[in-house]
Amino acid sequence: MSTRSQRGASPIGLSGLVASAITTIAALALPGMPAAFAQAKMTVAAPEGNAALDFDPWPGIRKDLFASRDITDEATTLSLEAPVRAEDAAIVPLTIRIPKAIAGDVKKLTLVIDKNPAPIAGVFTFGAGAGLGDRVISTRVRVDMYTNIRAIMETSDGKLHMVTKYVKAAGGCSAPALKDADEALAALGKMQLKTRAAPNQSAAMREGQVMIKHPNYSGMQMNQLTGLYIPAKYVQQLDVTRDGEIVFQLEGGISLSEDPNIRFTYGDGGTGVLEVTAKDTDGSVFKARVAPSGS
C-alpha cells in the first residue's frame, strides 16, 4: 500500500494531534488543501499551557502515515543534518544524506516536523534519474515550535528507515514571509535552476538546485490591510527530470519555506538536460530547464 493511499484513507490531522490556537486557524484557512497536508477538524480540545510543549504528536502521525509497519531507527544508513538552534525559524536548513550503498533502493523519503500545524513537510518519490551515487537532498522548512524533525525513507523491499533530530526554533509558520513585501510579489514565479558537479562524488553524479520565488503562504500569516489571514497558497507538486527520466517528484506542504529551494543530486547521463515543473495550489504552473554548460 502506498503512502499516499494510506494518507488518503486517514487524513493527517488527527485525534489528539497538535495543540495550539494557530492550528485552529490553519484548519479554517485551508479549505482547498489536499487531505494529505490539511489539518482535519480538531476533534480534541487543545491542551492547555505547557501541555502543548509536552505533547507528543508522533504516535498519531506515525499511525496515519505508516499504520503499524515497523520503522527502523537508523543512524548509519541515513543522516539528517539540522541546526540544533535555528537562526531563523522561517528558513531552517535541512540536509538528508543517503549513502550510495542503498540509494538505488530508496523509493521514497518523507520529511515530518512533528509539532508543525501540518507536520508533513514533503514527500519525495525518486525515479531512475536520481542515480546510484550518494543521494543528498537539501531544503528549508518552517518550524513552529521546538520539535523533532524526521526523515523517513522507504526502500524497495518495503522497509522503513528513520532518522530524527530535535530542533530549537519557534514561530516559523506564522512569521511573515517577505522581508520586502513589494519585491516578493513582483517576483512571484521567477525560477532558477542550476546544475554543477556534485561535490565529493564520481563523475556519474551531478548536483542540481531549483529555486522558486513563491510566498508559500502557510495560511497563518495575517494581511494587515484586511485584518484577515492570507489563505494558504503553496507549491504542492514539483517534478524534476533529467532527459525525461524522473529524478524526484515532490509533494510539498506549507512547512516548506517561502521561496522553495531544493538542492539534490542526480545521475548524470544522456544530454544532461534538467527540467522542473512546479504547480501551486492555485493551479499556476512554473517551468524551468537547464543543460550542463558545454552541452
Binding site: E87, D88, S138, K179
Partner: protein, 325 residues
Amino acid sequence: MITRHAFVRGTLALAASPLVLGYSALRSSSTALAAGAPLGAPLSVVAVAPGIYIHQGRHGLFSPENAGDISNCGFIVGRNAVAVIDTGGSAMIGMGLKAAIRQVTDRPIGHVINTHMHPDHVFGNAAFDDGNTAFVAHHKMARGLGARAERYQAINSRLLGEKAFSGTRIVMPQVPVIGTQTIELGERSIVLEAHKTAHTDNDLTVRDTATGTVFMGDLLFSGHIPTIDGSIRGWLALVARLREEKAAQVVPGHGPPAMPWPDAITPLTRYLTAVSAGVAAAIKSGQTLSEDAETVGLDEKDAWMLFEEYHRRNVSAAFAELEWE
C-alpha cells in the same frame, strides 16, 4: 506638510518662549532605569544639540531587567511643539521618555515618529497615545508592523515578563510618509525621509534642519552588531548615497547619543560588505546555507557586541537574498 490638531493646539498653547532651552542646562539627573525603578521614572537624556535630547539604550536583548530599554530614543523641542523620535521597547520605557520630556519642556507633544517597525523602537508608543499626538512613520511601516504584530507581542511579552510589559500595546502609525515630508515645530522644522528597503522595508530618517542633526534609526548601528531584516544590497546602496549627504552629527538607533558623519557608519559598511562578499563567494562555490552560516564574516566577531546572537542570522538572510543574483 503634516498638520494635526495637536500641532495647532501646541501653537495656541505657547506664547513667546525661547527657541530652545539651554543646550546643557537640562540634563535629567535620573539614571537609566533600574530594576524596580518606579513606573515611568524619567529616562536619562543628554542634549546633543540645542533642543535635541537623546536617551541611550543599553546593548542587549529584551529582558525583565532592562524593560526593553535597548535602543536609542529622543526628542526635538520646537517653539510650538515637541517631536518624539522612537519610544523604546515597552510602555514603561515610553512613559520614562515622556517624563524626561516633561522635565525639559511643557510644550505639547505633537508627533511621535517611528524610524521603523521593530519592537525596541515602537513598543513605547502607547505612552503617547492620548489623542493629541500624531503617529508618523514610513508608509510601509503599517503593513510591516501589522503583519508582525501578533508575533512581536507574543514574543516580547514573554521576554519582558508581566511587569515590564505592562501597558504595552502596538500603536499603529496614522501619518504615512512617502518620499520626504516636513514637520514644522515652530522656528525649526524637521524633514522626514522614507527610504527604500535596507535594514527593513520601512526605514525613515529624520533631519533637524536647525542643527544639521540626523536621526538615522537602525540604518546606523554602533557597537551593537547590525541586524538585517530587509536587504543587505539595499542597505549598502543606501549607505553609499547617504554618505554623500552632509550632517553635523547623526544619532544611531543603537550606539552613542551622537556621532560624527560619515565616519560613524564606516564599521557598519565594513561589516555588511564582509558579509555580502563572503556570502556571494560561498554561493558561487556551491556551499549550502548551513555551511555558510558557520564560516562567513567571522573576522568581524570581535568588532561587535551581540555577534553570537545575530551574526548567523544575518548570514542566512544575506544568503537567501544573494542566491537569486
